[in-house]
């Protein structure tokens, strides 16, 4: 009973981590940079959703759309502020720029929303009773969140495979020079990658908000968990990011249930350190075989 409960809740949070990881991987695939402000994008999106849903009393769906739109805009800004001016810079500068941006976002959120309360809470989506499926106990809230995360993933996969913009992103990730030669405006693709990554983060934040409390320092921890998930796939594999997210979520949930609740916080760090030291190219290395 405990195991199945932990497994289900691990998969739920894991699906959200997978969304965070997807955003990180999309940006890294296109531009070769890790956006250290990714967690702060999530945090800001969470607060925006809170303002729209709790503050302005808009319905949840409208809040979702509004937040996603704002997430998209913040992603475009991230590209303009912290990536495009540094196109020819070294990695140290690129990383420090996004770190700087993350602190600007965090400070801004603290000034706007920090004074209200230490933690803001978001109302639950459904009040329904837990469903018992044989030995499995499923909380409807978790079901809704997991379904939402899955919908975002499917929508993204469709975008990436079926639309021209998605194909341009794929081409640029594969070979930026060749993409430029065939007329793809790669700087637009980078902007698109930041925007889409941030949009997915915003969607994840809105899905996550009812399960957690909102506070200005929440971003970094989420970023690290998303990053741990992304590392499992070697930072470039989208299916790897999804798998990694669920892995991190389940490991975290089991560690919390069987060892100690404080072990939850440290599990993702251990996953990162272990994967990086043992297999720096990711666990799905064999998936790198080129399809002809």
């Amino acid at each position: 009973m405990l195991f199945s409960y932990l497994l289900v809740s691990g998969i739920t949070t894991g699906a959200l981590y997978a969304l965070i990881a997807l955003g990180i991987v999309i940006v890294n695939k296109a531009s070769g940079v890790i956006n250290f402000a990714h967690g702060e994008l999530l945090m800001v999106a969470g607060f925006v959703a809170w303002t729209l849903h709790v503050g302005l009393q808009l319905p949840y769906g409208v809040a979702l759309l509004g937040t996603v739109a704002i997430g998209f805009a913040v992603g475009v800004l991230t590209d303009r502020i912290a990536f495009r001016p540094l196109a020819n810079a070294d990695l140290v500068s690129l990383v420090l720029a996004t770190v700087g941006l993350s602190f600007i976002l965090k400070g801004t959120a603290r000034l706007i929303w920090g004074g209200k309360a230490d933690y803001l809470s978001f109302p639950p989506l459904t009040q329904a009773e837990p469903i018992l499926l044989g030995p499995l106990m499923i909380i409807p809230q978790q079901l809704v969140v997991t379904a939402g995360a899955l919908a975002v993933m499917i929508a993204f996969a469709a975008f990436f495979r079926l639309t021209t913009a998605g194909k341009m992103m794929q081409a640029t990730a594969d070979n930026a020079k060749a993409a430029k030669l065939v007329g793809i405006r790669t700087d637009r693709v980078y902007m698109m990658a930041f925007a889409v990554g941030s949009l997915i983060a915003a969607a994840a934040a809105v899905l996550m908000a009812p399960l957690t409390l909102l506070y200005p320092d929440m971003g970094f921890l989420l970023f690290v968990k998303g990053f741990a998930a992304a590392v499992v796939g070697g930072l470039t594999s989208l299916p790897g990011a999804v798998l990694g997210g669920i892995l991190v979520g389940v490991v975290e949930s089991l560690a919390g249930g069987y060892i100690h609740s404080s072990a939850m916080e440290v599990a993702p760090f251990l996953v990162i350190m272990a994967v990086l030291i043992v297999r720096p190219t990711g666990l799905l290395d064999f998936a790198k075989v080129r399809r002809v």
Binding site: I34, V92, V99, F103, S262, F269, L270
Partner: protein, 334 residues
């Protein structure tokens, strides 16, 4: 030598620092001590990030390890400060050495994230190993005394910090101008090329991590004595960004730049002390603006526009000749 050369300006500042305890009030003394602590942190971090080019994020954790070791040895084992303080520095140095192990396999982003994960794991230990670290609430350290010397604690600590900051800055200048500094820069500019020149990557990377660990450990010990209090939140991400902003604002790859950056940011830190959100925005924005518009930091402006601020990666010829021994590498003269 021009009047406003680096040496003259810094000597005047040093003279000012020496008479400050008789001119200022307890608050300026506190800020002065804090400044020297941050000078140590910035100089050590610059050796690792600016010179050796290792994008590590564990400096705040090392700072914390130095502070916790110094404080806990005093509280738990009742060692005197002057025994606990060197132990703190040694432990931080050793941890630095251990972190350098993954650095040999990883570079760039992966190193950044492993060290970041390490820093977070350190925070977790500070928070949850309550039997030893007193957990989230932190603990008070005993007031240190400079007993045989006729000075009060704040003044004594001020001069101790000043002495260490001066000595370790001079040491860093000399290291940077030595074979070791040149090896660091060679590793930063191209690992393969450095290795083909006969530079032992393992040795020099480990050295860079150990040195920055040592500087942070010393700073941590002094910090615990300055505040009389050690708690996990003093060594978090904010602290890490503060150190990074210092070396970026001052100038990556310049010891002088670390001094400049530490000076400016400590002033800003104190001016904005009441507003955490504003501090975060200010330091984040400084980091971003300098990385985008002035990648060499403030010191690059000085180097371009004033004479006597150069930092060549070799000793001045006169001193080099004095130091040269048969069998050591010759110093290229001009």
């Amino acid at each position: 030598m021009p009047v406003f050369s680096r040496r003259n300006v810094l000597l005047v500042l040093l003279a000012g620092a020496l008479i400050l305890p008789w001119m200022g009030n307890p608050y300026t003394l506190f800020v002065g001590t804090l400044l020297f602590i941050y000078v140590l942190l910035a100089v050590g971090l610059n050796l690792l990030v600016g010179y050796a080019g290792q994008l590590a994020f564990a400096n705040a954790a090392m700072f914390g390890i130095g502070a916790y070791t110094t404080g806990l040895l005093q509280v738990r084992l009742e060692l005197p400060f002057f025994a606990a303080f060197p132990c703190g520095a040694v432990v931080a140095t050793l941890v630095g050495l251990v972190i350098s192990l993954p650095a040999l396999r990883l570079s760039g982003l992966y190193l950044a994230l492993t060290t970041l994960a390490f820093a977070q794991a350190t925070q977790w230990v500070f928070l949850h190993w309550e039997n030893v670290t007193f957990g989230a609430g932190g603990f008070k350290t005993p007031l240190i005394s400079f007993a045989p010397l006729p000075v009060e604690t704040p003044t004594g600590l001020y001069f101790l910090s000043l002495l260490l900051a001066v000595l370790l800055t001079l040491f860093a200048w000399n290291v940077a101008a030595s074979r070791i500094g040149r090896a660091f820069v060679a590793i930063r500019d191209g690992e393969v090329a450095a290795e083909s020149l006969g530079i032992d990557l393992l040795r020099y990377k480990a050295l860079a991590f150990a040195m920055s660990g040592f500087y942070a450990g010393v700073a941590g010990g002094l910090y615990s004595a300055l505040l009389n209090f050690v708690a996990p939140e003093g060594f978090d991400l904010f602290q890490m960004v503060l150190h990074k902003a210092m070396i970026v604002v001052g100038g990556l790859g310049s010891v002088t730049g670390s001094l400049l950056g530490a000076g400016i940011l400590v002033f800003l830190l104190e001016a904005l002390r009441a507003f955490k959100g504003t501090q975060e925005i200010a330091f984040g924005a400084l980091l971003l603006v300098f990385v985008i518009f002035l990648r060499g930091g403030l010191v690059s402006v000085l180097k371009r526009n004033a004479r006597g601020w150069e930092e060549p990666l070799r000793l001045p010829e006169r001193r080099a000749r004095l130091l040269a021994r048969p069998g050591t590498a010759s110093v290229p003269g001009e």
